[in-house]
Symmetry: none
Subunit: 232 residues, 2 copies
DNA sequence: CGCCTCTGTCACCCAAACGTCACAAAATAT
DNA sequence: ATATTTTGTGACGTTTGGGTGACAGAGGCG
């Protein structure tokens, strides 16, 4: 299961994609315009973007560029939907950083297979992200290992994901709802102490680095953005 | 830059591959049939062959065999393109001397990455990859032989490939999905204990070196990156 | 100062994940 | 053809991790 953003102005196609992707067990976000799409991409941090190149307000290539330029969104895999051979040529070189493309008209089945192919690699192991080194904390995403002051600590899968997620959204408060959604991949069901408990365990395990995770009362949790001195 | 021969009967895919490989700076030759392909391979001596297994006139395995048998063409690296469901040949192709295979549909980016990986090895040439010597473990990739403490152990084809794959991705966790795709060459349908079982058999056979293969609960398996307690 | 809400903490129980085994199917050798 | 090896799969037992609810403590607000 992954979070997939579809940017496509043609309503029919949008519906078809949405339905089929959901059917395949994915969470689907949709946008009919480039501007909305960009905003959604930044806010919701999807795993994969299905991008129509021909949009009413801006070209898909611009979107592509914009996303790849920003480190926070550069990790999003992009699958381009393109209609014309001419467009194809420009994109195909992957100068834009797209992972794959499909030429319209395509069969839905074909598309789904490609989506799987991309997610198979992308979701679990994206080496494209910046390494995590923050104060006494060091994280190897690919190895799934964490060190505090050069001493390795063992985190469980969820603890690891929680840490990485918070760190990647440094200085932005994450509500429990958002965390449940992104780390656990479940719908918000806020009556539990699940998040708190895991934050507690995480803080405990990472010792000194536990201070980097700040509680924002009434809102959620936040990874500190700088080491000592407070707000600038 | 390298010279790459593509043997693929599906016209669309052929075009896409040709374009992208050229874009990546390679010289590309194409053939739609096995016979033409063999001829080209002999005449032009490419560095790499992208080989579809399902061809109109002859099977890809035959081509593979023919090329590997002739010392003049035995040095050509081969990357097999195989469709899902087209069984066989993961092991067969491997034993025939293919360097890698990719399951259709693949993302173009993924393919390009693999092509690069193969060519990179090819540069240093000589059966290519760095030799595997790690602790008490020693592996001869070409001879398909494995020693533990100078004592040879017999591995089956899959066990061997599993070991090599894990080792080549030292210190990077490989999920079962990825392993199924890369070692077995099948789409991920995880409801089985296939990977576990093979890891178990492998660990058993390689004795002391079994410890090098670490389980990362909730994620996958990982080959240790150094021998003892490590920091860094 | 007191109340109320939100968070930290703990211990328990269940379920998911893994290791292991045995067996059947498939491939391969004889 | 039969014998043997190799592989995939379902069942089972074990372990670990994670969700839950209760409770205490802290922080905020009037």
């Amino acid at each position: 299961m992954a979070r997939i953003l579809v940017i496509e102005d043609e309503k029919d196609l949008q519906k078809v994609l949405e339905f089929n992707l959901q059917q395949a067990g994915h969470e689907v976000l949709t946008a009919g315009q480039g501007k909305d799409g960009l905003k959604l991409a930044r806010e919701r941090d999807p795993d994969l973007l299905l991008l129509d190149l021909m949009l009413p307000d801006m070209s898909g290539t611009e979107i592509c560029k914009a996303l790849k330029k920003d480190p926070r969104t550069a990790g999003i895999a992009i699958l381009i939907l393109t209609a014309k051979g001419e467009e194809l040529d420009r994109v195909v070189g992957f100068e834009l950083g797209a992972d794959d493309y499909v030429v319209k008209p395509f069969s839905v089945r074909e598309l789904l297979l490609r989506v799987d192919a991309i997610l198979r690699r992308g979701v679990s192991e994206q080496g494209g992200q910046p390494p995590i080194v923050f104060g006494c904390l060091r994280v190897d995403r690919e190895a799934h290992r964490v060190w505090i002051d050069d001493k390795e600590v063992e985190l469980t899968a969820i603890e690891f994901k929680l840490l990485v997620t918070l760190h990647d959204r440094k200085n932005r408060v994450q509500s429990r709802t958002v965390l449940l959604n992104d780390v656990w991949g479940i719908e918000a069901d806020i009556t539990t102490r699940t998040v708190d408990t895991h934050v507690k365990r995480l803080r405990e395990k990472i010792g000194a680095a536990g201070d980097y995770i700040e509680t924002v009362r009434g809102v959620g949790y936040r990874f500190a953005d700088s080491l000592e001195g407070d707000t600038r």
